[in-house]
Symmetry: D2
Subunit: 149 residues, 4 copies
């Protein structure tokens, strides 16, 4: 299956929550995706940093899109785990997720969330805000969406 | 330290991200907090469910507010871990977090996120959407906000 | 499927690692299992406490046995997450795991690890050492054991 | 603080649990450590693979030793999160942990656990068995060991 960035960007655009946050899908390759959000007032918590919920959303969505590059689009996120290491401060947050292992029905991803001061900052100069990992599973065909007990 | 619901609701109102999501703080007692969000179109992903990022935001914010009832307001969220078990579908999502253990500088919380069909649904009849846990730490006084390397 | 304690105890006895640690399966009911280890010198780290690896082993094994009560014996542990809250000191450690949600192919469990000073200590008087959760999956029949890439 | 491999190996040797498992500390450098275990019958579960508890022990101990290279020896492991991706089969398991971020009182590490068929296998040819991360904290001086409530 050939990952297709424009198709994946259309899927992102069909997520009202991602549109609300202003998320961009900037890369979508086999085993690897990158999401970005330009930080605005609406993303913040009371100290002026990006809310931890924005960071955890980025981990959740980046690992799920990355899983989609190897499992296809019909999947569910099983879970995520995130360690926050630095406040999210800067012009934008970037979430880079990569598949570390997968089978036909399950994929495990790692994700780094970094803060950057400008958009040309592509070469690892960003500040690490959080590390995460997670798992996604294909939806079992015998079970309609939402049927887990 | 006496947890004060109106004060904590003011803190929530100072979080632009929480205002964006329409989050309500409905309980704030020693070791225990409850947040709610009325699910709207803007909270959804492409299948019509609440986005996983809304659920992880609820875990992050609920455990942090719960930590605040025992550690005070000057704290940082260290990390969270979430397992999604059921799609977030219904009129509202509720996140109930409780402190399971704490010292003067660290607290560990568990959190359940449930979906409900109406606001009177307080007696555990909701559908479990996710389980999570996490840790919060007091900010070390010798380190200004944001100084972790 | 009717959970059978003696059969599950035989499975535990077929795990050389569990025999090495001296683990006992003391309860095995639908959605719920309890493992115990009498703490000895061999379980310790350099400060005299149970090694964190004993606690994480208990979370891993307890959640997996609990998953077995609803998924059957042919399963794999997908992952675990553990927060340590108190040193493991006492006569024994007890790990109680319960299934919080499951489908036909996936189960999510929570687990508490507590320390106790004696074996009659069954009514929650133990000291909480760690909280955890995890997920187990049935092994897909089309994939032989060990075939994940 | 200059990490000292022989001193760290002495600490490992003072952990009865690590001696029981036959763990070796093969590298101990600033931000980075490597532990190894030669797989024997006693490490196995009922299918002949390394028990998940051996893998979680390796994540726990590797991340803690890695934290020690930047925080010093007086620390506690706060928590770990592990995703298992492949059964632990082979001559040995290797756990490589690296500090991804730290302050004076807290460190966050990632850890890869790989299986290898021989000891000369140092150049990444091993099979990835699990990915993990975790956090360690310095023990607060005002609190005696074991005083967390």
């Amino acid at each position: 299956m050939e990952p297709d960035l424009p198709s994946a960007q259309r899927v992102l655009a069909e997520q009202p929550y991602s549109v609300l946050l202003g998320t961009r899908l900037v890369a979508f390759e086999e085993t690897s995706t990158i999401l970005e959000i330009d930080l605005r007032e609406r993303h913040r918590q009371q100290h002026g940093f990006a809310h931890g919920g924005v960071i955890s959303y980025l981990v959740d969505n980046a690992i799920t899109f990355a899983a989609g590059t190897v499992l296809g689009p019909d999947l569910v996120t099983a879970g995520i785990s995130v360690e926050y290491v630095r406040p999210g401060v800067g012009a934008l947050l970037r979430a880079e997720a990569r598949v570390v292992s997968h089978s036909s029905h399950s994929a495990v991803m790692r994700c780094d969330v970094t803060a950057h001061d400008n958009h040309e900052d592509h070469d690892g100069a960003g500040r690490l805000c959080a590390v995460g990992h997670g798992r996604a599973l294909t939806r079992p065909s015998q079970q309609p969406l939402g049927s887990v007990r």
